[in-house]
């Protein structure tokens, strides 16, 4: 799994406002444009996550119980 690439993605998300904006419009294109290479599983996660959510909104949608 491309952990390093995912770390790069998150770093960019945290530090680059234009990247955040681009990610909200077209996540795959935004990642491709900055040269981050994700494997297919990470690509699927990238497409699935709603990048328009704030941290608080994101957290409110994460289950507390987690099934366990």
């Amino acid at each position: 799994m491309s952990y390093e690439a995912i770390g790069q993605l998150i770093d960019r998300w945290m530090n680059d406002a234009s990247f955040r904006a681009a990610l909200r419009v077209d996540a795959e294109a935004a990642v491709r444009q900055v040269g981050i290479e994700l494997d297919p599983d990470a690509q699927a996660a990238l497409k699935s996550i709603d990048w328009s959510l704030s941290d608080a909104d994101l957290m409110s949608r994460v289950s507390a119980a987690g099934g366990a």
């Binding site: 770093d11 996660a45 709603d50 949608r61 119980a65």
Partner: protein, 340 residues
């Protein structure tokens, strides 16, 4: 009526608990042993109700039932297996409580040795007793025994790794993820694989359903870890010095004084609520929440793909998909589309 038309919901959590109670009554060799196991079982309904309130399902009940229904179209024959899986879950939970020094009130008056005995009986002995009584061929029983033994070993390895990292100054994110895979992922994978094997699925299809369970377990545990760290009133993980993924990911990116400062903050957070809030703020500001949600979503997507490949019968397939959706509750794409 054909099997495919039977409703998987025909077996309830109450049915599973009743089967487990009946098994305890039948299996125990004397009244003292029965009393010990009844105390152990008395906490299970509360845990099930909490899971139902939060997610709408109970993993050790729904996974074997729904996977069986996904293969065969009905879940009723998997009732004893759901009882078996629930017993494993209960035993592992008691072991967890013992490890954390966090025994529930129902154990008042019982020694650690007695509680350990109850954990061993529910995690290992009662499941073996139930497995031996499943109405399946010796060949299939052997396969299921092997799945169970392999699952135990992987779960134990995850727990061992988790314990070894407690309070660690240098946990690696990949090590934490491997520990989550063992503790939660392999537990869920075992329940799903047993359901598929009981239903007579071919090995390749059993492996796919195991992947569904594994992804569900990992994503769920990571989601739960995030909730504990960022939302709960008091983080038991921080208090116990547990190195969950957000912490490990951030720690491995630090060095020098910044690293020492954060380790000191983690140490303070074991007993200081304000320090806990500070840890959460720092991790959120550094992207650790985003990273962990991304990894959880990655495992959830992997499980969804495996579920599609497994070609489940309906309505069990939809139920398993709904379980996978509930873990991230809309952090992913489907909810975004619904919101327009």
């Amino acid at each position: 009526m054909e099997q495919a038309e039977l409703r998987p919901e025909a077996v309830s959590v109450a049915d599973v608990l009743a089967r487990l109670q009946a098994s305890v009554a039948e299996a125990c060799v004397d009244p003292a042993q029965r009393r010990l196991l009844q105390v152990a079982l008395s906490g299970l309904n509360g845990q099930f109700q909490r899971s139902i309130a939060e997610l709408g399902w109970v993993h050790c009940v729904e996974l074997p039932l729904q996977v069986h229904a996904a293969v065969r179209g009905d879940c009723a024959p998997a009732l004893p297996l759901a009882a078996l899986c629930s017993s494993i879950f209960l035993g592992l939970d008691i072991f967890d409580d013992l490890a954390d020094g966090d025994e529930p009130e129902r154990w008042r008056g019982y020694s650690p040795g007695q509680i350990t005995l109850a954990a061993a009986l529910t995690a290992n002995v009662l499941p073996a007793w139930l497995l031996a009584r499943l109405p399946v061929s010796p060949e299939r029983l052997l396969l299921m025994q092997r799945t169970l033994a392999d699952g135990y070993l992987r779960m134990a390895a995850g727990q061992q790794s988790d314990l070894a990292m407690t309070g660690s100054a240098a946990p690696q994110a990949t090590e934490v993820e491997a520990s989550v895979l063992g503790k939660a992922g392999e537990q869920f994978a075992t329940y799903a694989a047993l359901g598929a094997q009981l239903a007579g699925a071919e090995p390749a299809r059993v492996a796919l359903f195991a992947s569904v369970g594994r992804g569900l377990g990992i994503a769920g545990q990571l989601a739960s870890d995030c909730f504990e760290l960022f939302e709960a009133g008091f983080s038991r993980d921080l208090a116990a010095g547990t190195r969950t993924l957000p912490i490990a990911w951030y720690l491995q990116r630090l060095d020098g004084p910044a690293r020492e400062d954060f380790l000191q903050l983690l140490d303070n957070a074991r007993s200081d609520r304000q320090a806990q809030l500070k840890v959460a703020d720092v991790l959120r500001a550094q992207g650790a929440l985003r990273y962990t949600v991304f990894i959880a979503e990655l495992h959830r997507q992997r499980a969804l793909r495996a579920l599609t490949e497994a070609a489940p019968r309906e309505p069990a397939g939809s139920r398993l998909r709904a379980m996978l959706e509930s873990v991230m509750a809309g952090a992913g794409g489907q909810q975004r589309e619904e919101r327009g």
